[in-house]
């Protein structure tokens, strides 16, 4: 939480309306996302109870489990969800396009699909549910004593793929609506209250005759706004418990079916308000313009999707119960790089996010007061001269960066800049002299082509953040040294994995 968001939060708490935290949307929002609103049975570890799912806001598909303690029914639920989700994923296996990976000698041409699946769930617990359901289903055996339909482990592998990507901030494969909204708006309530979808919405999109604070309180009433799941409301559970008892005790099939339909109806009623909020959220987020780096990140998602499709076609073994040490270390390194890069990209795309770094002294904004276009300095080779123009920036705020620091500007991200001098002026402001290198369209001598060198009077932001910083380098998996256990072996599912006792 930054001081900027504190200002936004206290402002919102007094105006009764959410305050924007961003000027653009930093996550890809697909034209056709797959929305999943799940419910689980209380007290059990991931016993699916019901779900509304699909890509059409007007036609949610209702999946219910009328007796969740019955193992067969649970896996029938997984089968039905698999039918929907796997068809959606298959629909993303469209035409491919080429892209290049690596640089120099390592450069390689590959293909990726032009689409990738995007799964939206209401909240963080929804992501945890996807992970658990993936774990529950991906290790099931398709033959033997507890055999399930082959679509069930296939669903499990994909759900695990989604859940694994959800940890990466630069991926849009699996997103939680509460997190998406809270990243773009500050409400006048605490972040734990923001994890309640209906109450978060009340601040962002309050009803006409109310304000955020009041509407948020009303949204907390589970009788009006059932919880967004996957946990259910304990009071609703009493109704459900009574119905399920009647379902079990029904004397004939007709009677059981009648109670079953009633169960379906009740469960649907618990999920429909959340389903509608999900799509309202999609609408609200679509109204925000997309950040400049967002398409690039979606390219990455499409690449990951294509790679996983390829892996499943070639090998298809499920993800391990737990990562081995080498895999875990690699994943952690990738995650750290992803976080750094995402933070930098966000700041480059969004002046309101950049403002957070200005406040902490990691960035500054000023007006160009002078420029020296014809500046040359001695190069590395004796007697050589290299072209290094300078610009002078005047800021009215404090500059916390030291001389010698390498900085970049979102206005010309390809141009390297180095702080040569920082002078304290009378009053609060500073004057900064920056030496520039590159970004002049391959010209080694002046004049700089128009637009490549800042004009006097131009307002510019410079920061130490760098979205193109090289990621940390770890050896390839197959080159893992013996000191680290050698190349990790692929996970081989055991009979024990598939043989969990069911009560």
């Amino acid at each position: 939480m930054s001081v900027l968001s504190t200002v936004a939060t206290i402002t919102a708490s007094h105006t009764g309306r959410a305050e924007p935290l961003t000027t653009v949307r930093h996550q890809h929002l697909d034209e056709q996302p797959f929305v999943l609103v799940p419910l689980t049975l209380a007290g059990e570890a991931c016993a699916p109870l019901a779900a509304l799912a699909g890509t059409d806001p007007e036609r949610p598909m209702l999946l219910t489990v009328r007796q969740p303690r019955n193992r067969a029914e649970r896996f029938r639920f997984a089968e039905r969800l698999a039918t929907l989700l796997l068809a959606y994923i298959d629909g993303c296996r469209t035409e491919t396009e080429p892209y290049t990976v690596g640089r120099g000698k390592e450069k390689e041409e590959r293909l990726r699909f032009q689409r990738a699946p995007q799964l939206l769930v209401p909240n963080g617990e929804g992501i945890a549910y996807v992970r658990l359901l993936g774990r529950l289903t991906r290790l099931r055996a398709t033959e033997g004593p507890y055999a399930v339909d082959p679509s069930v482990p296939a669903l499990g592998k994909w759900l695990t793929w989604f859940a694994d990507l959800a940890e990466f901030p630069n991926s849009g494969a699996l997103l939680a609506m509460t997190r998406l909204l809270a990243a773009n708006w500050a409400t006048g309530q605490s972040s734990s209250e923001d994890s309640h979808l209906a109450s978060l919405f009340a601040w962002i999109d309050p009803p006409e005759d109310s304000d955020g604070a009041r509407a948020a309180r009303e949204a907390e009433d589970p009788a009006v706004w059932p919880p967004a799941g996957p946990s259910t409301d304990p009071v609703f559970d009493r109704t459900l418990h009574a119905l399920m008892t009647r379902y079990d005790d029904a004397s004939d099939d007709r009677g059981r079916e009648a109670v079953g339909r009633q169960i379906d109806h009740e469960l649907s009623g618990q999920m429909l308000p959340t389903w509608r909020l999900m799509w309202r959220g999609v609408e609200l987020l679509r109204e925000l313009p997309e950040g400049a780096h967002v398409p690039g990140r979606w390219d990455l998602d499409r690449r990951w999707f294509s790679e996983y499709v390829e892996y499943l076609d070639a090998d298809g073994r499920p993800q391990a119960r737990r990562d081995q040490a080498v895999r875990a270390a690699r994943r952690l390194a990738r995650l750290e790089d992803a976080v750094t890069r995402f933070e930098a990209e966000r700041a480059f795309d969004d002046p309101l996010v950049m403002a957070e770094y200005e406040l902490t002294g990691e960035a500054f904004t000023g007006t160009v007061t002078a420029r020296d276009e014809d500046r040359f300095i001695p190069g590395d080779r004796p007697g050589s001269q290299v072209w290094r123009p300078t610009i002078v920036l005047r800021t009215d705020t404090r500059v916390g960066l030291a001389v010698g620091t390498e900085v970049k500007s979102p206005a010309r991200p390809g141009q390297e800049a180095r702080i040569l001098e920082v002078r304290q002026e009378d009053g609060a402001g500073h004057t900064v002299v920056l030496q520039l290198k590159g970004g002049f369209a391959r010209k080694r001598t002046p004049p700089a082509p128009p637009g490549t060198l800042a004009e006097t009077g131009e307002e510019l932001t410079y920061t130490t953040l760098n979205p193109t910083a090289m990621p940390s380098v770890l050896p390839d998996e197959e080159n893992t040294p013996w000191t680290h256990g050698g190349p990790p072996q692929p996970y081989e599912p055991t009979d024990e994995d598939a043989e969990e006792t069911w009560e």
Binding site: V3, T6, L41, E44, L132, V235, P351
Partner: protein
């Protein structure tokens, strides 16, 4: 008033509660107190044994807590599974985790003593058995649902750990049975932390029992055995968990809790927390006790929504979470903070630095939003 000063603190707390029977002090309540030790309101309500759910309802805030019948059934089923077949599963786990010799399998069920379930009888029997086992005169592998006591803010809390195992390799261990799952060896960290805090309460109570009986407390392990269902099945799975940190924290909080008596003594003589009285009387007594509301209260305290409205009324920064509170040091209302931002009021010297930063942030927000 001299009469009030000489009053025994216990009497004062009992008088506040009125004729209603006192709510027992449970391990859960004690750990909740340690979650927000600065809250005088909760300290007094719990020390006086007031039914907080009923009190909240009386002042117009029906608490939105409750357990699902499904969760309850699951919990009961798991408990009976662990103890099924003469505690076969529990003994298996004890062997796996604590290398219990095969010969030892004596179990004493302390849910009742000779058909009597009265707490004080069970407590006396527990003490007797512990003394026998600790001094080596007797062997018991498991004491099922023993009863221990702990003095909390001058009142005796009766506590019932799920089980206690006798000294294995010279140590006594507390056992807790929980129905949240451990999937691939990992359970929900919040649930585990909560269980550990409660286990610390039991271990501390066990310490007291040993001290009272002049037994060596070195026999008590600072680890407890947590039993939960494995993966998606019902098969019990157990792990030993270290409690030293929780024990230190708990001892510190309990020593501070004695203040509940002093806090109650400062209330006006007419104050009442008797849930049969009118909402107006109750509210004014509640208001006389300082609450320390934070958003986390909503997850465990029955009075939280009452306190939240109160915090909203005085625009307390803490109601927006610790991030906001930390950014407004020394500023006790978000209204004041906004006045400083708008230049309507000038901050004092102590607040100046924080306000400068806030003003810079507000200015940047304005400028950059306009630029976009």
């Amino acid at each position: 008033m001299p009469s009030q000063q000489s009053e025994h603190p216990d009497d004062r707390l009992a008088r506040l509660r009125g004729p209603q029977p006192p709510q027992p002090y449970t391990a859960r309540k004690i750990t909740a107190l340690t979650a927000n030790p600065a809250c005088a309101r909760r300290a007094v309500l719990d020390a006086a044994g007031v039914d907080k759910a009923l009190l909240a309802q009386q002042v117009g805030y029906e608490p939105r807590f409750g357990q699902s019948p499904f969760a309850l059934a699951r919990e009961q089923a798991f408990h009976s599974l662990v103890k099924w077949g003469s505690y076969a599963e529990l003994i298996r786990l004890l062997r796996e985790q604590l290398s219990v010799p095969v010969a030892e399998a004596h179990v004493t069920d302390l849910n009742e003593v000779g058909g009597n379930t009265a707490l004080h009888l069970r407590e006396r029997e527990t003490r007797r058995l512990i003394a026998h086992v600790a001094s080596g005169q007797d062997i018991r592998l498991i004491l099922d649902r023993p009863v221990l006591t702990l003095q909390v803010a001058g009142r005796t809390a009766y506590l019932e750990p799920d089980a206690l195992t006798h000294r294995i390799e010279g140590k006594f261990h507390v056992v807790l049975i929980r129905s949240f799952a451990a999937i691939d060896g990992q359970a929900n960290p919040t649930a585990v932390a909560e269980a550990a805090k409660q286990a610390a309460v039991y271990v501390l109570a066990l310490h007291r029992a040993f001290e009272t009986a002049s037994l060596p407390t070195e026999q008590i392990s600072h680890e407890f055995l947590l039993v939960c269902p494995k993966d998606f099945s019902n098969r019990p799975y157990g792990r030993l968990i270290d409690l030293r940190q929780e024990l230190d924290a708990l001892q510190f909080q309990l020593s501070r809790l004695r203040r509940a008596e002093d806090l109650a003594a400062q209330l006006p003589g007419t104050a009442t927390l008797d849930t049969a009285r009118s909402a107006g009387e109750l509210s004014s007594s509640i208001e006389a006790l300082d609450a320390s509301y934070t958003p986390s209260c909503l997850s465990f305290c029955e009075m939280a929504r009452y306190c939240r409205d109160e915090a909203d009324g005085c625009a307390s920064p803490a109601r927006l979470g610790s991030g906001v509170r930390n950014d407004l040091p020394g500023i006790d209302s978000t209204r004041t903070a906004l006045d400083y931002l708008d230049g309507v009021a000038a901050p004092g010297e102590a607040e100046a630095e924080a306000v400068d930063l806030l003003r810079a942030a507000a200015r940047l927000r304005r400028l950059r939003r306009r630029a976009a």
